[in-house]
Amino acid sequence: MPEQGPDSFTEGPARDPVAARLAAEALIVDVEGFEGPLDMLLTLARSQKVDLRRISVLHLAEQYLAFVEQARTLRIELAADYLVMAAWLAYLKSRLLLPPDPTDEGPSGEDLAAHLAFQLERLEAMRAVAARLLGRDQKGRDFFVRGIPEDVQRVRRVQYTATLLDLMQAYARIRTKDEFRPYVLDRDALYTMEEALERMRGLLGYAGEWIDLSSWLPEGWQTDPVRRRTATAAHFAASLELAKQGQIEIRQSDTFAPIHIRRKPRA
């Protein structure tokens, strides 16, 4: 904190304009070092070198307003809360200087001044106790805890829990996968017989006439050799299954000739 006695400039330029200007500049340059306007007011108040309870709030307000004025002439931008405080102090000053208006219901200038003094005293008190707190013996610096605390055997028993709801939701999740994702390619290039069966059942209605089984392969499974092979195998196996169930008929004219299927005509 600067020790330049900021109250010197509040006496106005008549006394020592250069010193006052320097003092104000020092304060302004240091504004970053203040934790807000209340902190700055406290610093200004301390410069009065009296008990905070007997401080001249009017004098303090004038000091602060002079500081803001200086900042303005030096074209230094102050944070908004400094200006808010300035406006409030200007109001307070007018309250303190003007004779009380009997019709005014607001708080008196004295009440406002007393509150400001209270705030300053409280802030200073908090700082003082904070310092006392930090001055106490501290754990890990002045006193110490047991260095080998792991003497306590912690028998950790992990208990797994699951609710019936978890169980049902998990099952629902799996089953919906089955119901609504007949073509899921968990194994990228594997077409299962179940999938083929499912698919063929849906297509059977269109198989009134003999149809080449290889033309039934689903899109995306007709060109790539690996995929074509697995799809063909799956569809062939599925057609055997459907034939076994009596739903379709199969024919093949020769070894390696195309396999034809058709829906079994209703008897």
């Binding site: 934790e35 106790v129 930090l134 890990g140 006193f143 605390p149």
Partner: protein, 213 residues
Amino acid sequence: MTRNPPEQEESLFEAPPIGEQERMVEAILFASAEPLRVAELNARMPHGCDAAAALAHLARRYEGRGVRLVRVGEGWAFRTAPDLGFLMQKETVELRKLSRAAIETLAIIAYHQPVTRAEIEEIRGVSVSRGTVDQLLELDWIRFGRRRMTPGRPVTYVVTEEFLDHFGLESARDLPGLKELRAAGLLDSRPMPGGPDDAEAEDGQTDMFEDES
């Protein structure tokens, strides 16, 4: 935490003699780095034991020793005597340097608890940055208290047992200068005359330190 009065058990289990209970408390507390509550001690000791009585004996035994039995909030712990701290350079942990804002905020929470962020800001005259509160929470020196029953139900902050332990305090009542501050009225919640929060006047004051339990 309540437990059955020892009388109920006595017919079934003979409680160990008090000297033996003292040994047990000594062993359990010695082994633990964290303070343990009487209820926790009782829970680990055989039925019928009275950890509180054993603690009283034990505290006397360790008076003036290099290791002391100290009370930390609701808990008890062994800590080395502070006058021997100079021997412990090897054990010293680097205490994180707290910012001025953090130290002041901590003091305000300790002396005004439970206290809202708005009240901290009112006392310091500046806004409290998130980082400041986060740092104190991370150190486990403050925690959230009950919400204030005022519009917006703001959260409050209170200090923790870890805070008490760190600063060697038995309870928040033992904060240095607390009585003087209270006597001087500096812990009163005094609203700005004519200000908007005139109505909430005494709120902060009434439940102060109620949260201790």
